[in-house]
Symmetry: C2
Subunit: 315 residues, 2 copies
């Protein structure tokens, strides 16, 4: 079985290698690609039986109702919060995401940005390029023996824990469910509110759901240890931006994030004025391995659905 018509919304041509586009094209009689804000979306949905969406594309009741033939929604992202999966399920529509493809990429990025910061890597290289090979004025700290806290011990949080253990950090976590397998490896469970004040490094790895939005609220942000480095490669919706602003003003913590499209210009502006807030483009998940994994899972999901054995269905 093949799809009659695949509609893609908000998926850049460059987001997938041509071999994967070919496999997608081979799954349908017809394929239409539209930008996120195209005015033709509603019309094209009318006879689409497969909808493929880029990160953050809204698939709500209205969109679903516009596509009476829809059988499959494929999200080119791990997060599918913008898709009304329950409503889709009621209409017999399978929604599939691509989990785990960027686990290693994001976890390793956490250490890349920590080490860059604590070892003053950029300054070192710049100075050497100018012919100055003096170590005078450099100081740094080590990860070993520091308290490394992880909020959310899912796929990425778990990888971060493994790497932090390799560094010899004192690794602690809080997660909704306790994960005994990691505790056996020496990762200590601790209540979030008692964990936050003792961390030298604190890395956020919650998925964005109602319970985790604003998890780092004013009370918790004010409790962060002086001198701590907080890394957020998860959505900034987990953090109360105004409270963070207040804390950053004190100059006694460093906050590192990789900016996602979902952050408002206003919030970015608020944070980017602080020297102790280090902002990256959304490159945490960008590795060759993640790109291949992402495409493999995304296209594999489509093919498996057509074969009658869907993979990574979330509803």
């Amino acid at each position: 079985m093949n799809f009659k018509k695949i509609l893609t919304i908000g998926i850049d041509k460059s987001a997938l290698d041509s071999a994967y586009w070919q496999r997608i094209e081979a799954s349908a009689e017809k394929i239409i690609n539209l930008a996120k804000n195209s005015s033709e979306i509603k019309d094209e949905l009318a006879d689409a039986d497969c909808l493929l969406t880029g990160f953050g594309v809204i698939v709500d009741k209205e969109v679903i109702d516009s596509a009476p033939n829809l059988k499959y929604v494929g999200v080119l992202a791990t997060a599918y919060g913008k898709v009304d999966i329950a409503y889709a399920k009621g209409k017999g529509i399978s929604v599939c995401n691509i989990p785990g493809y960027a686990t290693g990429a994001v976890a390793e990025f956490v250490f890349a940005v920590i080490l860059d910061h604590i070892r003053d890597i950029e300054r070192g290289r710049k100075q050497a390029k100018e012919g100055n090979y003096s170590e005078a004025g450099f100081s740094a700290i080590e990860i070993k023996n520091k308290v490394f806290g992880i909020l959310g011990l899912g796929r990425i949080g778990s990888r971060v824990a493994e790497i932090a253990l390799g560094f010899g950090a004192d690794v602690c976590y809080w997660n909704i469910e306790r994960i005994k397998e990691f505790e056996a490896k020496g990762v200590k469970y601790e209540n979030a509110d008692s964990l936050i004040p003792k961390c030298d490094f604190l890395s956020l790895h919650f998925a964005q759901v109602k319970d985790t939005e604003n998890f780092l609220n004013e009370e918790r942000i004010m409790k962060i240890k002086k001198g701590a480095i907080v890394i957020n490669t998860a959505p900034m919706e987990l953090v109360d931006i105004d409270a963070l602003e207040k804390r950053l003003e004190k100059g006694d913590i460093t906050f590192i994030l990789d900016h996602s499209d979902e952050m408002s210009q206003e919030d970015i502006k608020k944070l980017s004025k602080f020297k102790n807030c280090i902002i990256y483009p959304p490159i945490a998940y960008v590795t060759r391995e993640a790109r291949i994994g992402k495409q493999e899972i995304f296209v594999g999901n489509i093919e498996n659905f057509l074969k009658g054995s869907p993979t990574n269905q979330v509803n």
Copy 2:
């Protein structure tokens, strides 16, 4: 017992915190501090019973013969290759070094420079600072599942192995002696010549002795895998610089080093012209923890010698 006269050569006032200088001063009736190239060295050696030297200060037969009362040489470094320890021993002089103080600092630096390079950290931050939050054009690789080779599994090499295991790399090593304890953890022993061609990352951790000088000779340098990243935080005497130059010209490997004072200006010039050779000031060992450890061991050695139970004696 105390020393009559301590002579220090090539130790910057700033190399030790005042608390440690005070402990050194408390160990002698008199203390004289000279620069590495001072013309007064010979005169001051005449009645010194304790000589403390900075990194790379030559203590050969001539120096030792100029100090007939000398009982103790304390080297403010791990490397003591410039000290004729056998000749000193023959004269009843104890030579003590400060091993291991920078183990964690150097091992973590290896990952700092690798991750900075493979994740394009500097460009990311710079671009974000300019208000451009696009991930377009970024690519990166992960450490996980890559072959991570370690030449020399001493203190630092072993720490590097532990961290690389945490990252999920395929960790291999060559060392004069096999170290079963690490093999039990999954670090594979392999002959250097078969190891070098398969490494995606190759980190050098030999001490500089006759057998390791020019260890990375032309034959071995030419065998390094295309695309590999080689990191040398050990002395550059381990590497045939002319052969490295030839290989760097091909543009198919990246070589990262932290420059030590021992490298000639000419060699630095040869290497700094290559984009694929990344040079840092000698900051691998510079951390707060290493600085404290270094001073503790250095001053502890002096005090322990005076108490009759010398520590870290190398001859």
